[in-house]
């Protein structure tokens, strides 16, 4: 399953890149992520909790940053093991930053697979959730640079 999209952030590309690249800042922009641990500069673990309707999903997540080309490209591999349910989430993400006047255009693409019982809950649900998360992430990122006027 592929989930992709783009949004604009009112800040120069280098600034946006450094914000996204910093794991602690990045985590603060994603709802439901806690217990971030830095194993080394390219490997991280965390806990991710999210809700779909009345159901609650909790994952142990391992992130490996596989490619960085400042200030325009970040690629990462994510593996999530759900707690209390058999399954596995595997994803690769590609994020590109392009200059758009004085703003930055963020393009992202996530290729994700779900296995086990987690998969039977349905990939459309994950797609819907990913879009919600994109919206929240983009709003928080914009608010970081323009706290008085979230667009």
């Amino acid at each position: 399953m592929n989930v992709s999209g783009q949004f604009t952030v009112p800040a120069p590309r280098e600034v946006v890149f450094n914000t996204i690249r910093d794991p602690r800042t990045f985590v603060s922009l994603v709802d439901g992520v806690t217990n971030l641990q830095e194993i080394d500069p390219t490997h991280f673990t965390a806990t991710f909790e999210t809700k779909v309707a009345y159901m609650k999903f909790k994952f142990n997540v391992a992130v490996e940053v596989t490619r960085i080309e400042a200030p325009g490209e970040i690629e990462a591999r994510i593996e999530g093991t759900p707690l209390g349910i058999i399954g596995r989430l595997t994803a690769t993400t590609r994020t590109s930053l392009r200059e758009s006047g004085s703003d930055t255009m963020v393009d992202y693409s996530v290729d994700a697979t779900l296995a086990g019982k987690l998969g039977s809950i349905g990939q459309p649900v994950l797609r819907s959730k990913a879009k919600d998360m994109e919206k929240q992430f983009a709003e928080k990122l914009r608010a970081t640079f323009a706290p008085e006027a979230v667009r």
Partner: protein, 221 residues
């Protein structure tokens, strides 16, 4: 499994009172076929389940008049499948039910549960939408009626308040309309639909006068 309280009210009104408008961990349970899967998968851990199995029998009955069907929300899918009235007024429902999961599930799963669960891959909702069916919903402030297509608001989500229950489903008679449901599965013919399409057509002298089918979901985000 984490312990939870099980309430078994004797009436729909009592069931509504036992639900909590502010607590998502208190949920009604009808046939339980879907909810139990979620509980066994560990993604839903209720505080209290309000079983509807002992409420008034009229909520498990199917009534028909010249305009169509009135199906109690606790009617099982098997009862729906075997009903002569359903076959007469909405034969597309009878045909759909033959490959809706297996008989063990159909014997306990209910019409109201199939709608309230709002799973995106279910057979019955698109068929009911194509037929122009509506639901009557009971809550603390009385009843309200809405179209099935307006009931579903997202993946596993409906517009129902946490203390509202579907009381019955009204299905206009197919009459001269021709209706069909086609599903594509990734497994056996009675598996969950990976894709399910329903349409009801009103024709006249070989021409389609009107067609009704569920609309695709609105784009997210």
């Amino acid at each position: 499994m984490i312990p939870f309280e099980l309430a078994e009210p004797k009436s729909l009104a009592e069931a509504v009172k036992l639900l909590d408008p502010d607590d998502g961990l208190v949920r009604p349970i009808a046939g339980g076929t879907a909810l139990m899967l979620m509980m066994k998968a560990g993604v839903f851990r209720p505080k209290r389940l309000v079983s509807l199995s002992k409420i008034e029998e009229r909520y498990s009955a199917i009534a028909a008049d010249k305009d169509g069907l009135r199906i109690g929300a606790m009617t099982t899918l098997s009862a729906l499948e075997q009903s002569a009235e359903v076959k007469k007024h909405a034969p597309v429902i009878t045909r759909t039910l033959r490959t809706l999961s297996n008989v063990r599930v159909r014997n306990v799963a209910t019409v109201g549960g199939a709608l309230a669960h709002a799973d995106p891959h279910m057979d019955l909702p698109p068929v009911l939408i194509a037929l122009g069916a509506s639901v009557t919903v009971a809550g603390p402030r009385g009843e309200r009626t809405l179209l099935v297509e307006d009931l579903l608001s997202g993946y596993y989500e409906t517009v129902l308040e946490k203390n509202e229950l579907i009381a019955h489903v009204s299905v206009p008679s197919q009459g001269r309309r021709r209706a069909s449901y086609l599903k594509v599965t990734s497994g056996s013919a009675d598996d969950w639909p990976a894709l399910g399409i329903a349409v009801a057509l009103d024709g006249d002298n070989g021409a389609v006068k009107s067609a009704r089918a569920p609309q695709p979901p609105k784009p997210c985000g």
